[in-house]
């Protein structure tokens, strides 16, 4: 027995040693991001006070027979708490509970596994042509017109929703028939820390050289930030998120977030920006910056979580990314009140080229990026009736804004702002998920933008709310720049042609085009980090072998397929 205790003691000691050896990474900022912070009592009292809500809303006729639908979501995420007061109330009024299954791991492979087993949930949000090819979805064209709210939302888009076999399968999620202006860039951009701009005297960098000059100057003056060594520029390369590594050249050439090709808007032909002179110069510039110590080699081997915790430490001065991908880090910085360490996108493009980062949200759809109901669905009509019920203005209003007086107050004729309590709740990812209906709203057909009377559908659509929620630091900064919101640093949102974007185009699985695309991406993924880390003298040589490998793997089938689909879409217009 004594021996046994001794062994256990040894094991514990040794594992402690091992743990302490590995835990000296960057500080645990992530903890805050994953902390749920839900108090069961909170949820219960919230629920009781919500009982009176939805008072004017008719329950669905079959609310007495509870039904659960499983919905697969292509994003990584967390399921809202079972005690969520809003979702519980909605379940009582409709009889419908939605069980979300969020993505774990790689989407491409997950989709393959689902199709291989024909193990479809009731509905799928995946933006994946393969489900349509496999016959996973039921056609909706006969059903949608029967539901008033769904019909109102989707009828302007019936033509674009119709796929090659003449059916409509997908209810687009990110769609607004009357868009609000864009206040912050949630899409791609070269982001820079606000403190860098402030210190440089509120300039707006427009070229790569200007951008990196600002970063270098700031780095030289501040070798550490809050005790952490300053990092000039980060390049996220973790799995599918490596668009941060591969996408910038197309934006420098003045394109939007199109995909893996650059489309000439005069001739509507696609070419590979990956091997363009712009790309060559871009990665050469990064190579120079690496050799100056602005970029660090481990940026290519870090995981997404490590990247977010670096950003959240406030020590990273710049990076290329898409706004939604860094929200987590921004929220942590905001709750730490490090407003000057938060980021803003700046209009970087080739000299003489107009930047085109923002899409004009003109109520267009991709045709693919939404929910489809599968043939395994227990009761498609009930699910559609539920979605239709959710689209009622009262319901949308309550989910997004909450209760008048308690969660929001009226400003002027059509304006609304949140109360500070609700704003705080919205900034806390865990509480927002567990105490509001936001997850359900986000992954169901929903109202976005402005209603016909000018009332914003939700807080993110409201200019009043945007202005009211600004920190004093941001307000001062915007005032000094003489702009109302940060997207005004970028060029006006651009109205995109009908084919846009290339990334949502359906490419047949196993086709020559799909293989060519995959090989091309693989080559880029492999060579770009090497190019950046190369000895500057070897750069040209390495670049040539990169270009040679791209052509050796013949990307033409992919370009042909994209060109064909562009031509098809442009003809339709």
């Amino acid at each position: 027995m004594k021996f046994f205790i001794k062994t256990i003691a040894w094991i514990i000691l040794l594992s402690l040693l091992l743990l302490s050896a590995t835990s000296c990474g960057i500080d645990g900022k992530m903890d805050k991001a994953i902390e749920t912070g839900l108090d069961i009592l909170d949820a219960e009292s919230e629920y009781n006070s919500n009982l009176k809500l939805f008072a004017g809303v008719e329950p669905l006729p079959d609310a007495g027979e509870p039904v659960t639908f499983n919905v697969f979501i292509r994003d990584p995420g967390a399921v809202p708490s079972k005690d969520n007061p809003v979702i519980r109330r909605i379940a009582e009024l409709t009889g419908v509970t939605i069980e979300f299954e969020f993505l774990v791991g790689d989407l491409d492979q997950k989709v393959g596994v689902i199709i291989a087993g024909e193990d479809y949930p009731d509905a799928i949000f995946a933006c994946e042509q393969r489900f349509i090819d496999a016959g996973a979805f039921i056609p909706l064209e006969d059903k949608l017109p029967k539901y008033k709210n769904l019909h109102d939302l989707y009828s302007p888009h019936y033509e674009k929703m119709t796929t090659y076999d003449g059916h409509q399968y997908i209810m687009e999620l990110y769609l607004s028939n009357n868009p609000s202006p864009m206040f912050v860039n949630d899409g791609p951009g070269f982001y820079i820390q606000k403190a860098v701009l402030e210190e440089a005297g509120l300039v707006v960098p427009r070229t790569l050289d200007e951008y990196f000059d600002l970063i270098e100057q700031y780095m030289a003056k501040h070798p550490t930030i809050d005790g952490v060594r300053t990092i000039g520029f980060e390049i996220l390369s973790d799995g599918w998120r490596d668009f941060c590594l591969r996408n910038p050249p197309q934006h420098l050439m003045g394109a939007g977030n199109d995909g893996d090709v650059f489309v000439d808007l005069n001739t509507y032909t696609a070419s590979l920006y990956q091997v363009s002179d712009t790309a060559k110069n871009y990665y050469r510039k990064l190579n120079e910056e690496y050799n100056k110590g602005v970029i660090r080699a481990d940026t290519f081997t870090q995981s997404y979580d490590q990247y977010i915790s670096k950003l959240a430490s406030g020590a990273v001065l710049g990076f290329f990314d898409q706004g939604w991908n860094i929200l987590q880090a921004e929220n942590i910085l905001k709750s730490d009140k490090k407003y000057e360490r938060m980021y803003v996108a700046v209009p970087i493009a080739n000299p003489g080229v107009k930047d085109s980062y923002l899409d004009f949200r003109a109520g267009t759809i991709t045709g693919n990026n939404g929910i489809g109901i599968t043939k395994n669905c227990k009761n498609p009509d009930r699910l559609l009736a539920f979605y239709d019920w959710l689209l009622q203005r009262e319901v949308q209003d309550f989910i997004q804004w909450g209760e008048e007086g308690k969660d929001w107050v009226r400003v002027g004729q059509t304006g609304r702002v949140l109360t500070s309590a609700r704003r705080e709740l919205n900034n806390d990812d865990g509480k927002k998920r567990d105490l509001t209906g936001i997850t359900l709203w986000n992954y169901s057909p929903k109202m976005q933008g402005l209603y016909e009377d000018g009332m914003p559908c939700g807080p993110t659509d409201s200019e009043d709310e945007y202005v009211a929620s600004l920190s004093d630091y941001d307000r001062r900064l915007l005032e000094m720049y003489g702009i109302k919101y940060p997207t005004q640093l970028l060029s006006e949102p651009v109205k995109r042609p009908a084919y846009y974007p290339v990334w949502s185009m359906p490419i047949v699985e196993g086709s020559a085009a799909a293989l060519a695309n995959s090989k091309m991406v693989h080559t880029c993924r492999k060579y770009y980090p090497r190019l950046i880390l190369a000895n500057p003298n070897d750069y040209d040589l390495l670049w040539d072998s990169f270009v040679a490998e791209i052509w050796k793997n013949d990307p033409q089938p992919y370009l042909d397929e994209v060109n064909r689909q562009i031509a098809e879409a442009m003809e339709l217009e």
């Binding site: 000296c24 989709v111 196993g510 695309n517 980090p529």
Partner: protein, 313 residues
């Protein structure tokens, strides 16, 4: 009195009836293997079809060896084969040598308690999942606060931190040594068990003949566990195309080492379930792997027979 000879068929039925309990007990296993090992073989037909999900078997289009042709003309395939074999051989050699050496050394220890503790500690990592092990490895080897780099710099062995996870030349060895760390203790258990069955009289005789410690290890212990070593070698050689999956998938997905990290399993997964290949192509690649593995296994078994050891099958 002559014994009445039964015809073979009659004898079979007689035995069957006599051993009906045994037959009965084996039925669940028969069903298990039929469902989980033999029925799925039907899916291999996919490798010869232009398989489209959602269609029935009879609607599929048969295309013969097209997928195999594509497989053998794909340069990526040779790259992943090279990686698989490279890492496999490193793993095989390292894990054999270290496990045997460790068992021999452990066997020489005198303190019973110390021996037990060392053994327990050494096989604990076997129970850690790969995702945890990979987390440990990438933290230990990190440039930013990784303990190895800190030690290397502090002792002046290197002037600049080493980018372990981004250097293609190191990747196979990182995989190899991580495997050693994880499985050395566990693998040595079977050798330790084999060592205990060696007759102590042999050691005494060797001592009398004037052999020292290393002499006894070399002339008594090693020959004593030779058959165990050969049997394990055969079993492991059959797995030579299983270089592993998790560690390469988790640690090797960054662009810098992608070229040396992808094994055939990752290739099958990426092509089979990804957009670029499809199920049928993945099946063809997986089938190729199985066929080659079977051939190697049979060969190793033959070789074991030639060198005069017990054959496994």
């Amino acid at each position: 009195m002559a014994i009445k000879e039964l015809s073979p068929r009659k004898e079979f039925y007689k035995n069957l009836v006599k051993q009906k309990e045994l037959v009965l007990i084996s039925i669940p296993f028969f069903i298990y293997f039929f469902i989980f090992s033999y029925l799925p073989l039907w899916g291999l037909t996919m490798a010869f079809q232009n398989y489209k999900p959602g269609k029935t078997f009879f609607e599929q289009e048969w295309i013969g060896f097209k997928h195999f042709e594509n497989l053998f003309t794909d340069p990526d395939f040779y790259r992943v084969m090279r990686n698989t074999l490279g890492m496999s051989i490193i793993n095989l050699v390292l894990s054999f040598v270290t496990a045997i050496a460790f068992a021999l050394l452990l066997n020489e220890l005198k303190g019973r308690i110390f021996k037990r503790v060392v053994q327990t500690v050494s096989y604990m990592p076997h129970f850690l999942s790969w995702i945890i092990v990979c987390g440990l490895v990438s933290n230990i080897l990190a440039m930013d606060g990784g303990i190895i780099n800190d030690i290397l710099v502090a002792t002046g062995l290197v002037s600049e931190k080493v980018h372990f996870m981004g250097e293609p030349n190191y990747f196979w060895w990182i995989v190899g040594f991580t495997n050693v760390w994880k499985s050395m203790g566990w693998n040595s258990i079977i050798y330790l068990a084999a060592i205990t069955s060696i007759d102590p009289a042999l050691y005494e005789a060797a001592s009398i003949d004037g052999y020292g410690r290393f002499g006894r290890m070399w002339h008594i212990t090693l020959p004593g566990i030779k058959s165990t070593i050969i049997v394990l070698l055969i079993m492991n050689a059959g797995w030579i195309l299983n270089a592993g999956f998790e560690i390469q998938y988790i640690l090797g997905s960054n662009g810098l080492v992608l070229d040396v990290s992808e094994t055939i399993d990752i290739f099958v997964l990426k092509r089979g379930f990804g957009r670029a290949g499809g199920f049928a192509f993945g099946t063809a690649a997986g089938m190729f792997k199985t066929v080659v593995s079977s051939i190697i296994l049979v060969l190793c078994n033959k070789i074991a027979g030639w060198v005069g050891e017990e054959k496994l099958i």
